[in-house]
Symmetry: C2
Subunit: 507 residues, 2 copies
């Protein structure tokens, strides 16, 4: 089992926290990674109790944003975080040879206004994702560079029929998405029709040219870390609709693109700087290594029991993914609608493999480091080098079927498979990284997948209304509850801002 | 919240069991039901510890059968049952006016050899489900009795085109099911094709006559307590294939039929007599009111921590449905394949509504009490009277969309809706039962749905192999793991017999 426990594998209650711990802890114990230090926060000691206005379950961007807004309104708050670091699905991993890389969410793009505002407020700057030079298409064992600076050039150079078919499919999806209200997808006029089929069934009927199907498949696994057969068509349309904001309609292209899309920019210092700095403003309101086991009503209050700390509160905000929220014991029981919802929103399957080199050598070959591939364990990559390019980093996503195939493999096995792919894409130099970091979210005890919980057919229409519906004094946050940028850091921040308003209206 | 807590709503740890309790306890506290007494078993007292060869999690038919076989082989066993009764999804509920009814699994039919052998060994007899007289079709507000004793008569009298279409669909499903190996559905030649679509998509293409689609929809919700849009076609085919035994191929008809089908017979004294008598043979090896919270490896053993009792064991058998097993904390973590499987097998949505009358008056009207309906909260019914017909009982299933619509309703609201249906089907006499019992499995804290966990598209092909794969010394039982009669009492017994052999081979 040891090989599945690289990061944050704590599963059981061990009241830790006998001393102050860093915000980044064992989480960075990956192959090639060492522990980063961060701003210290509070930690639970055995038998600690706190009494606050609001207990927040989960110290990711959603929970921390919730706490920020509640504290600003004068409320007392305790944030209970299961891991020994903040950030949830956003984590910096330091490299053995110096520097760091990002193991979770890292990109920010246009219309992601709320994560941008948060980062700005904390002094975390952004820089443009490296996007100079040509993309690579790797298909049928052949490597084809292609330009990204023209309209036609922005799509991988498959056959003309496939390009035309893919363009029609993309336009159809955007049109259908416009008919899906982001705050209630189940009320779309065609919700029943769209929620009764898999995205795969729809693609089979519409992406009829094989190369078009290939492009849509890569887009799907890159966005959802799930295969088209796992997803409800309605959920895919909702997710596209959510890739915008109150004044800009979502589009598929905004999800997939680097320039002008969701991968446009990155954070200086790494994305986890945002939750780390946000947590620092909250001080010892944030309790680490405190996985919540139960939420019980008692004497007009809620008793939130975590390993090593018990918090009594007037309200509770649960800011963890639905399948993780289901593992908390509730008394009284949650309504069936909420419990059965949480049985029906599984996490996608995702890993990130980062290979580090002395230089970003692909740049001198005129490549931007971005690949779209039809084979290998890594089928999409990015140049993850730091802004000063003091070293080079290739980051590859391991998605869905590919991740599942390697869930139980050793790091060495995954590394070998990944470097073989990188060599196919970028040449033999890629075979010899100075360090290699693997982050497998499926094996993380407090995530068990990523980047987001998705909906199979039939779930949104029957259970969607339970996503944000409070249960007594228990409110729900987390990127899965967001109407915009669901599944992204921006959605997490939006959910925290929404739920804080909800709770404040009741306090 | 009180209205969701009729039965067994304990969610949180309260080490109860300060005294011996009956095998049937608060579970029968339904509207119109009072507590039945049963054979006493052991119960946990605070801080109890036990050391055994095998800890069994769950005192339903699967866990109890496991324990029986292990004890017969000379092993020491502890069965930890969360509820204050044994039987899991099998429960007798006593009636205020005397007598009892069955709130969970109750039927037994041909090829269900293992539950039959178990019942025989315990002296629990069966009797034939009342099936004399005509069935009723209630469609478009019209009530049509129809005979069930001829080949054509066994199908509700919809239009001829619909009957012909339904017959072709049924034959196709049976043929496809024959290509699905029950022990590895994911290895079927067409597994990928069948697992990438919902059953609804397949029905839309094949059950093209509206009345045929109606018949298939009713069959689907009756069998799975899920709508066709929620189910993988491959899972449906597996489930049909599993409706047989080692020498008899499964068929759709065996799932749906009363005579010669899965609803053929019932147990004298109620189905829970089987687990109650089985538990009695195990004595104080069975611990009630002991929900298991964690399973941890420590010092070469497993430490199984339940409310009020901790058991150390060489091996652990988890005999609860996958979504419930996911709520236990494991240390070390389960492999991703197993954890993500348990995120992807939700429980169906089911309730049973039993109205009791002085006599089974529908019999004198020449009706057998069985209805197939296209409207109402109850769309299929059975005559659930005792074998001596000393009173009459109409049992109706509330399935899938209908159950979800009433999850949060009061018992009075459900009762009113059910009796309106029963009056439509059986006349005004049905409006005045002497008692009424409602069992809503979605609201049960230790089931959260029923009768079985089902697979949406993409799950069996990617995760099916994890269903029975042991994880170290942790083995998996429960009807969801059975190759035959998956979802039925027979499957639960088979799973216990299989897992006991598995464990014994290793001890």
């Amino acid at each position: 089992m040891a090989r599945e426990r690289q990061h944050d594998s704590r599963a059981l209650s061990r009241p830790q926290a006998l001393s102050r711990r860093s915000l980044l802890g064992g989480a960075a114990a990956a192959a090639g990674a060492v522990t980063l230090t961060g701003t210290a926060a509070g930690t639970a000691s055995a038998a600690t109790t706190r009494d606050v206005d609001v207990a927040v379950v989960g110290g990711g961007l959603a929970g921390l944003t919730t706490a920020r807004d509640l504290v600003a309104a004068g409320k007392t708050v305790a944030v209970l975080e299961a891991r020994d670091r903040v950030g949830g699905r956003v984590v910096n991993l330091s490299l053995a040879g110096g520097g760091f890389t990002e193991g979770g969410g890292e990109f920010i793009g246009p219309t992601q206004d709320r994560i941008k505002a948060l980062a700005d407020s904390l002094g975390v700057a952004t820089f443009t994702t490296y996007n100079t030079g040509k993309n690579l298409l790797y298909k049928d064992g052949t490597r084809t560079p292609y330009a990204t600076d023209g309209i036609l050039g922005s799509v991988p150079p498959v056959d003309a029929a496939g390009l035309a078919n893919a363009a029609i499919v993309q336009a159809s999806l955007d049109d259908m998405a416009k008919q899906v209200p982001v705050d209630a997808p189940w009320t779309a006029a065609k919700a029943a029709e769209w929620d009764k089929q898999t995205f795969e069934s729809w693609l089979n009927a519409n992406a009829v040219i094989p190369s078009a199907k290939f492009l849509l498949d890569v887009a799907t696994t890159s966005i959802f870390s799930a295969q088209p057969r796992e997803l409800s068509l309605l959920f895919v349309l909702f997710y596209i609709a959510a890739a915008g904001n109150e004044s800009t309609a979502g589009t598929l292209e905004r999800l997939t693109d680097t320039a002008n899309g969701a991968q446009e920019s990155r954070f200086v210092g790494g994305s986890q700087q945002v939750p780390i700095k946000l947590a620092a403003t909250l001080g010892d309101r944030v309790v680490l290594s405190a996985p919540v086991r139960s939420i019980a009503q008692s004497g007009g209050k809620y008793v939130v029991t975590a390993d090593g700390v018990t918090v009594t509160a007037k309200k509770v905000v649960v800011a963890v993914p639905p399948p993780m929220a289901a593992r908390i014991t509730y008394d009284p029981l949650l309504p069936a609608s909420r419990d059965q919802l949480s049985q029906r929103l599984p996490m996608g399957s995702i890993g990130k493999a980062i290979a580090v080199y002395d230089t970003p050598f692909w740049r001198t070959d005129g490549l931007n480091g971005q690949v779209v591939s039809d084979s290998g364990v890594v089928r999409s990559t990015f140049d993850n080098s730091p802004p000063d390019a003091s070293y080079g980093a290739l980051m590859g996503f391991i998605e869905a079927d590919e991740m599942r195939a390697y869930d139980a493999s050793s790091v060495a096995e995954v590394k070998a498979a990944v470097l073989k792919d990188y060599a196919n894409y970028f040449g033999d130099k890629a075979k010899s990284p100075t360090s290699f970091v693997l982050q497998r979210w499926n094996n993380e005890g407090f995530s068990r997948g990523g980047p987001v919980a998705y909906a199979p057919p039939g779930v949104l229409t029957e259970y969607g209304a339970a996503l944000r519906a409070p249960v007594g004094g228990i409110h729900w946050a987390g990127t899965e509850t967001s109407t915009y940028w669901n599944g992204y850091m921006d959605g997490a921040v939006r959910s925290g801002e929404r739920v804080a308003k909800e709770v404040l209206a009741e306090l």
